[in-house]
Amino acid sequence: MKERSDAQLWTEMLSGEVAALEQIYRLYVDLLFDYGNKISRDADLTEDCIQNLFIDLWDKRGRLGMTDNIKAYLFLSLRRRIYRQLDKNKRSTELHNEENDFVLTLTPESQLIQEEDSLATLNSLQQALEQLNEQQREIIYLKYQRNLKSQEIAEILGIKDQSVRNALHRSITKLKKLMIPVFLLSTIGRWLYLLIEQ
């Protein structure tokens, strides 16, 4: 399996290697689809945007700069593209579009099965997530699901570094507030259990 760094793969693509473009596509198409769908809630639109993203990438490669983080670059481009398309669609339809809510659903497999409180914690975490605003959820997704750094997230969302950190801070404080009762209950529960066992 060939190990190539982002910088190398990118420059190969810039130099006109279709195979490099294909590799970039195959490496990131799943991530892009998931992200795009969460933003637009429209699989067809997401697919179109991904397709055009790569077509444009190839057409304009002569004028692109270097990057050492292809994922962040592609996310930024896709997001812009999707919002542009959503705006266009809004203008041409008379219908009231639903609020594009960045919806996150916790995956049950992530739970540590040994814990008895697992289901309760999951539920309260899910509810806590729904109390956050759209941007906060998007930031949490990019940071914890996609492992991007705050600076990269700032570039993708087009906001300041500090704004990302503030939003994260607020989200964590909120999550903590809503989670602690369950956390405590489970801890107390465990103590009681241990006490009884003795």
Binding site: T11, Q51, R63
Partner: protein, 326 residues
Amino acid sequence: MDDKYLHYSLTDFLEDDDFIAKVKSGSFPQDRWQKSLADRPETLDAFKMALKLIQQLRFNEEKISSEKVEALWAKISNNTQGKKQHKKVIWLRTAALSGVAAVVLVLIMWMGSFLGKHKQISTYAGEHISYTLPDESSIQLNSVSYIHFNPKEFDEDRLIEMEGEVRFKVKKGGSFRVKTKMGEVQVLGTVFNVYHRNSLFEVKCFEGKVQVITNNRDTVLLRAKDAVRIDQSDEMVQQFVLEDKDLKDWSSGLFRYEDSPLNLVFEELERQFNIGIDMENDNLIRKRSYTGAFSNDNLEEALHSVCWPLRLQYEINGQQVLIKEP
């Protein structure tokens, strides 16, 4: 090592990208830290909660079917066919190729696969970098360029793979090779410049001797002041001679052009100044050619040098430049 963790709050843990990555990869020594934090109950609680949250913050992913993945790729790759040429016979423009001796080296259409740790150096737009290789040869990279080599094997086999534009000053020694996707350069001790971007491959020899081997197995021997340019898009191989004025080039911040397509000039401007250039009327302007030079120390002057002779106007908006006809 990480005393900072001792004073961390929950938010600190959850904002630390390094911590998050290590926890997710399972390489974080959780047990050791549980013990270390035993006497700091607040930090310990924050630590435990952070661990929990990192492990729990995993979301359902929307999947794209593999049929769709292939279908989309088919559409994308159709688009890449349009501009590329089919293999034709290369014909020569100018005087005979300097013949070289016996061995014609067969070139591999490599994909640059190799094992082991490679040293990589790359430049962004607006960046020039100088670097000294393990054998004391020196190289300079122009903007948006990339090289890599294997430091361990470099003593026995001096091989550099590159994309973009790099000037080499090679110390005398065993063979020294430079590979690009469009051809290879072999030297013994010399100063030369290799350019490969898109479908253009160009080698200029400033000192010493350089052997260029194209993908079509043609070889060209360049002596001091010789140069060769291969353009894949129209299958042309041109040999030419460098004049004194050509000796001052990108490495001195000077960019000269003689009857060059304007889009090449604009692309270089974009790389040197890290800007984006848009044209009001794409087709009309692109077809024109430019003879002249610009230097990379001042954007306005550079734009003036290019636009004035061609009676074009430019408008600067931050990192974007708009070119229009009056």
